[in-house]
């Protein structure tokens, strides 16, 4: 509604706006136009992204904490925070390893389930569009609520344990948040439930846009359905698969909301992800400078990882994203 009304208002303007310029209907030049249009976005990005990043970068080379007064009075300590983190801080190193392991397990499961569902949705059947919407539901729910919901489901007397007791008897039902392996399992289950729909969605749109001719040719040449899938369809799906993995790795590296609601990193630090550790460093221990250094290590690591992931499909992505 809002945008429509602004358009009507401006619609009356052209006669006035163009007449003084007369024949030069290009009006403002192309380069001025480019600058004019991209300026607001750039100003916002610089103010709200680049400036804080630079502040954080500077901070990571100091020993600053809020109790020591202004940031400008902080002692410059060079790479001390970084070496401390990488060499001595086992809690940080474990948080990194843990986050990577959880990510690998989650993304693999999400990929397998998402691909399976997407393949099921390639055929026509009754109620397909309703089922399609239903399967997208989890990714529409906010992470905090997902975390809270699964916290309830995994209670010792919750429905998941009820089902387990029904299947294998009362001794099989664990206290999910009291033991490390079970707590990690709960986090993985939650995350996989939440984000499998995204893989499903991306892979399905990829599968739907696979060109028919190579598939037909393979079928005519006598390939079995399995061969067609593995040797013809899957290779063509590769760019889409990589996009899905890149997008999801970017998000899961920052895994915070769900774990915060589920376990707060516990028991002990069994489910403490990088984000949770940095959050605790900065906002419970007030080691802000140290936390900033940790964040930059993570940023460099993920940039490297994403660069490696993107290399094989860079040209294709630039093609679509121009």
């Amino acid at each position: 509604m809002h945008d429509l009304s602004t358009i009507e208002v401006t619609d009356a303007a052209p006669a006035v706006a163009t007449s003084p310029r007369g024949a030069s209907r290009k009006g403002i030049g192309i380069s001025a136009m480019a600058r004019f249009l991209t300026l607001p976005g750039q100003i916002v990005s610089v103010l709200v992204l680049v400036v804080p990043l630079l502040v954080a970068l500077y901070m990571s080379f100091t020993d600053w904490s809020p109790t020591r007064g202004s940031l400008f009075d902080a002692q410059f300590v060079g790479f001390e925070n970084y070496s401390e983190l990488l060499i001595w801080d086992t809690r940080f190193v474990y948080a990194v390893i843990r986050t990577v392991l959880i990510s690998v397990v989650c993304l693999s499961l999400e990929f397998v389930f998402g691909l399976g569902l997407a393949v099921l949705f390639l055929r026509e059947f009754r109620g397909k569009s309703i089922l399609f919407s239903a399967f997208l539901t989890p990714m529409m729910i906010l992470p905090v609520v997902v975390g809270y919901t699964f916290w309830m489901l995994f209670q010792a007397n919750g429905p998941i344990n009820q089902i387990i007791e029904l299947l294998v008897g009362p001794q099989g039902a664990p206290e999910w948040f009291r033991s490390a392996p079970f707590a990690v399992t709960a986090v993985v289950v939650t995350e996989v439930w939440h984000w499998t729909p995204l893989f499903f969605l991306i892979l399905l749109s990829g599968l739907n846009s696979v060109p028919e001719n190579p598939v037909r040719a393979a079928v005519i040449l006598g390939a079995s359905p399995r061969q067609v899938f593995w040797c013809v369809i899957l290779p063509m799906l590769k760019p889409v698969i990589i996009v899905a993995f890149v997008i999801r790795s970017m998000e899961i590296i920052k895994l915070f909301d769900e774990v915060f609601m589920l376990t707060r990193g516990g028991p002990g630090s069994a489910t403490e992800t990088i984000s949770l550790y940095i959050y605790k460093l900065a906002f419970s221990d007030f080691q802000l400078a140290y936390g900033a250094a940790a964040a930059f290590i993570v940023l460099l690591g993920s940039l490297l990882l994403i660069h490696l992931l993107l290399t094989p499909v860079r040209d294709q992505l630039l093609e679509t994203n121009r």
Binding site: D3, I7, T10, P14, K26, G27, I28, M33, A34, R35, L37, T38, Q42, V44, S45, V48, L49, P52, L53, V55, A56, M59, R123, F125, R126, L131, F132, S133, F135, L136, T137, M140, I141, L142, P143, V144, V145, Y148, W151, M152, N157, P159, W193, L201, S205, I247, I253, K254, F256, D257, F260, S275, I278, A282, G291, A292, V298, L318, T320, N321
Partner: protein
């Protein structure tokens, strides 16, 4: 197109997947309508025999629950609901408005489109806990901590890459010739964009707005570290309930969670065909 039935094993597989997908949603809705005696019954009650709306009432009138002999709800969620609506709506409008201008700029005049994706990606990858740290410092110096203005500024900026790239993909889909025709008719570039480009991508504009709203409405960490007493949002309030009562206010928390989900699910279904595009910065078009 002929709709067929699935073969039995496939249908069973589909049914099982459907149950797994919908069960958590079923559970949170059921918990939200349980009276306090059923909240944490052992064994758990799947469908409350006496459903009630008392949990929803308690969100806005903390004393309502006392009729059931339950104390401990010290805060009403009114401020959080108000805060979530205010922050999400204004931040979404800002983000989409700036994003639309940038999208046209990048798509039609190709300014910095090679380097920008990488900068945006690195912004998205930086752990929010750490980017929140400089914000807390900067904001406390300019008096924006614990204010909606500060929260809105962050939300708008953080979602700007999404709105820009999603809108850019819609502008890219539009042939340049349409705008050029308008310019030949005597309109300036700016007018051609205002009167031709923007009306033609209004479907995409709507989808983008809804998508950005989902992102803003779901945001948790910035709100968590930048709110003390003046402001609140639904996710923060949910976390506060859980912390304050060790999670024992099951029904009231579930009611707040349901309240948080409803707008998202409605909006999400409305724009489901554009979700992939939004999530992948326009790389996947459906």
């Amino acid at each position: 197109m002929h709709a067929k039935k699935l073969s039995l094993p496939l249908a069973l597989l589909m049914a099982a997947a459907l149950v797994i997908v919908l069960f958590p949603v079923f559970w949170i809705v059921m918990t939200a309508i349980k009276p306090p005696t059923d909240w944490n019954a052992s064994p758990a009650i799947w469908m409350p025999p006496h459903p009630t709306f008392i949990n929803f009432l308690t969100l806005f009138d903390p004393d309502a629950i006392r009729a059931y002999g339950v104390g401990g709800v010290s805060q009403s969620a009114t401020k959080a609901v108000f805060g979530s609506i205010l922050a999400s709506v204004i931040a979404t409008a800002l983000s989409v408005a700036i994003g639309l201008i940038s999208a046209i700029g990048i798509s039609r005049y190709g300014n910095g489109s090679r380097a920008t994706p990488l900068i945006i990606l690195s912004g998205r990858m930086f752990p929010p806990a750490a980017i929140a740290v400089p914000f807390v410092i900067i904001f406390s110096n300019v008096g924006l901590t614990d204010s909606y203005a500060g929260l809105i500024a962050i939300y708008a900026a953080v979602t700007l890459p999404f709105s820009t790239w999603m809108l850019k993909s819609f502008v890219d889909d539009l042939p340049r010739e349409i705008e050029e025709a308008a310019m030949i008719d005597g309109r300036s570039r700016l007018m051609a964009h205002l009167t031709v480009t923007i009306p033609l991508i209004r479907g995409g504009l709507f989808a983008t707005t809804m998508f950005i709203f989902i992102l803003n409405w779901s945001e948790f960490m910035f709100a968590l570290v930048l709110s003390y007493s003046n402001i609140s949002t639904i996710p923060v309030q949910l976390a506060k309930y859980v912390t304050a009562t060790a999670g024992t206010l099951y029904g009231v928390q579930a009611a707040l969670a349901v309240l948080a989900i409803v707008p998202l699910v409605i909006v999400g279904y409305l724009i489901q065909s554009h979700l992939a595009r939004g999530m992948t910065f326009g790389a996947i078009k459906q």
